[in-house]
Amino acid sequence: MNMKKQKLIRLTLSYLVIFAMSVIIIYPLLWVVGASFNPGQSLSSSTIIPKNATLAHYKEIFDPEQSDYLKWYWNSLKISTLTMIFSVILISLTAYSFSRYRFLGRKSGLMTFLILQMVPNFAALIAIYVLATLTKLIDTHLGLILVYVGGQIPMNTWLMKGYLDTIPKELDESAKIDGAGHLRIFFQIIMPLAKPIIAVVALFTFIAPFGDFILASVLLRSKEKYTLAVGLYDMVAKQFGSEFTTFAAGSVLIAVPIAILFLSFQKYFVSGLTAGGTKG
């Protein structure tokens, strides 16, 4: 009887904690959804379920004349996608060489990458800012993409090299004996086998620019070139509160698709992270 009672108490307490946590997690999310339907620009009269729900804020951000939101959305997608494509290409080439060839400078190259991945490249933001100004790459998406791609290389090269090292060398050696050239081995043998890690690297290199604020805010000056992170911050910070409901609509439109994507790919994402080992 005592055992049963103990179990009951334990489970009740557990459910209570879980319920409280769930409320803490869900409440902010519901609140912002509610705010996005709230009439008017200010939040003083806002409730989670607005009395006169309106789609006005969604209409506003979809209207190019009233808001740059759609441009920011497009910019973010464009920058993240391009960063992803270039990073994956460069990282595959570099990781493959480091994994399969023994050449002069290989060891010091790997060591350099190891040290570089420890210091985030935005730490050198003064230099990036000054250099971008000098090279006229400031306020261009090209400059931003270059900085993102460069910053992604060291860590992801290590990640991918680790995976390529596990693909047996006998495979490419036998292909070499059969007369396959360097490029052929790379494209037709190694890359197809490396698909899982390519997916992980692609995901990382897409997410990082999407969520980045510091570099984008240093490099981008004009409003129509902003990415979502900079644009939304601008919307909130300018006159705090006066545009909050519009901001809420904007963030719902980012959070919902990404959350759905994330939850459906969650399994692969998590296994990739644990396989890759270190990076959080």
């Binding site: 489970l11 939040l43 190259g109 790997l110 935005f122 990036i128 604020f213």
Partner: protein, 426 residues
């Protein structure tokens, strides 16, 4: 046993190669020799001016206003240094090549024909060819900025020494000395560093503890609805962090935020100055980071827990272990062992977690007597110095300190991991 050479071709070839190509010509590799010589000559023709201006510029940083732009000169100087490193690399290879082929002749071996030379060039050059695009980009957008910051830390580049109107000068360790000696800087530096450390340990430890605790809680065998609970608990991770932070900065807002207006009011608690009081801003930041950060740890721990075999617990039960003993002797050690490497990256991540500090309250509230906000961590202080007060050289000095610090911690950590010691890692 020492090899006995019949002749001295290797030494002569190496000495002759001081002028690139001549050693190869001596070895009767005419095409290669001419190619090397042309390469070396064009190096000086193409980069001559840059090296001339760059080396002069990096030493003097300019002597006349408005003719000389110190920062341009510094950039050209770094470029020259990089070019020189590549040039030296080529030069060393040229010496090595002449010596090696000379040695072959000394031993009476046949040298490679032109066709064979071409083949080995393609074969041994292939990895370099593949690395070069990534490496060149890395040099310009990562390594170049790092060298630039390191050098900038030893100049007086700020609002008052700003080209083209003024020149920038080398000042040695003055920036570092001022960080320690000038009251304003010392006070700010100590405060920012202290909060950075408190923040890193406080926020990270809380999010880790919460994640592990909840994972163990949800993993209880007789608990129903695990799937739905886990989905809910992962939601904060699924929403982009910058969106969550901005939402929270609205919720914590003192004039319209729901936390003061609705939640605290419902419990009859007075409004709390979340944005204007340093203490409460810090509390809010740590709470928010726990909200954002725990799902990651939660997910990792859940994975580990599911991999622990049931037999372990059954055996413990047979031996008469209590639930608490099972927890402290089996569950916790296994979990901590498995997630330890991830935990350390969590600490370094929060150490540089610029987004939450800046997006929540821009590092504020402002504090009198120091030039950083009350919640500024090192990285956001650097941002503030660069973007709002143009204190470039001080920002560079702080960046240098921050990088050294991070690198020391990371290297110390890496040395302890197994993979670092493995032979074939390199």
């Amino acid at each position: 046993m020492e090899t006995i050479y019949q002749s001295n071709h290797r030494k002569i070839a190496a000495v002759l190669s001081v002028i690139p190509g001549f050693g190869q010509l001596y070895n009767r590799q005419y095409v290669k020799g001419i190619l090397f010589f042309i390469l070396a000559a064009s190096f000086f023709v193409i980069f001559g001016d840059l090296l001339d201006i760059g080396l002069w510029g990096i030493v003097t940083l300019g002597t006349q206003v408005p003719r000389d732009h110190s920062i341009f000169l510094l950039v050209q100087g770094i470029l020259s240094l990089i070019v020189i490193v590549f040039g030296l690399g080529f030069f060393a290879f040229n010496l090595y090549d002449a010596y090696k082929n000379g040695q072959k002749r000394d031993l009476g071996l046949r040298l490679n024909t032109l066709r064979e030379q071409y083949r080995t060039l393609v074969d041994s050059g292939f990895p370099y060819l593949m690395i070069s695009p990534g490496f060149i980009l890395l040099v310009f957008v990562v390594i170049f900025p790092i060298i630039f910051v390191v050098l900038l830390a030893f100049t007086n580049y700020d609002l008052y020494h700003s080209p083209p109107a003024k020149l920038v000068d080398w000042v040695g360790f003055q920036n570092f000395v001022e960080l320690v000696n000038l009251d304003l800087w010392r006070k700010t530096f100590i405060n920012v560093l202290a909060w950075t450390i408190v923040w890193t340990f406080g926020a990270t430890t809380l999010q880790i503890a919460l994640g592990i605790f909840l994972a163990i809680l949800v993993n209880q065998k007789d608990l129903k609805g695990k799937a739905i609970i886990r989905t809910i608990f992962i939601l904060p991770w699924a929403v982009p962090a910058f969106v969550s932070i901005l939402i929270f900065s609205g919720m914590f807002n003192e004039s319209f935020g729901v936390i003061n207006k609705t939640i605290l009011a419902a419990f009859g608690i007075d409004s709390i100055p979340w944005m204007t009081d340093p203490f409460w801003t810090k509390v809010a930041l740590i709470l928010i980071q726990s909200w954002i950060g725990f799902p990651f740890i939660f997910t990792m721990t859940t994975g580990v827990l599911q991999a622990i075999p049931d037999e372990l617990y059954e055996a413990a039960t047979v031996d008469g272990a209590t639930a608490w003993q099972k927890f402290t002797k089996i569950t916790l050690p296994l979990v901590l062992y498995a997630v330890a490497p991830i935990l350390i990256t969590q600490y370094t991540f929060n150490f540089n977690n610029f987004n939450i500090i800046y997006l929540f309250n821009s590092g504020g509230p402002a504090v009198s007597g120091q030039n950083a906000g009350a919640t500024d961590i090192l990285i956001s202080w650097i941002y503030r110095l660069t973007m709002t007060s143009a204190q470039y050289s001080k920002a560079a000095a702080i960046t240098l300190l921050l990088s050294l610090f991070v690198m020391t911690v990371a290297l110390w950590q890496f040395r302890k991991t197994k993979s670092f010691k493995e032979e074939d890692m390199m």
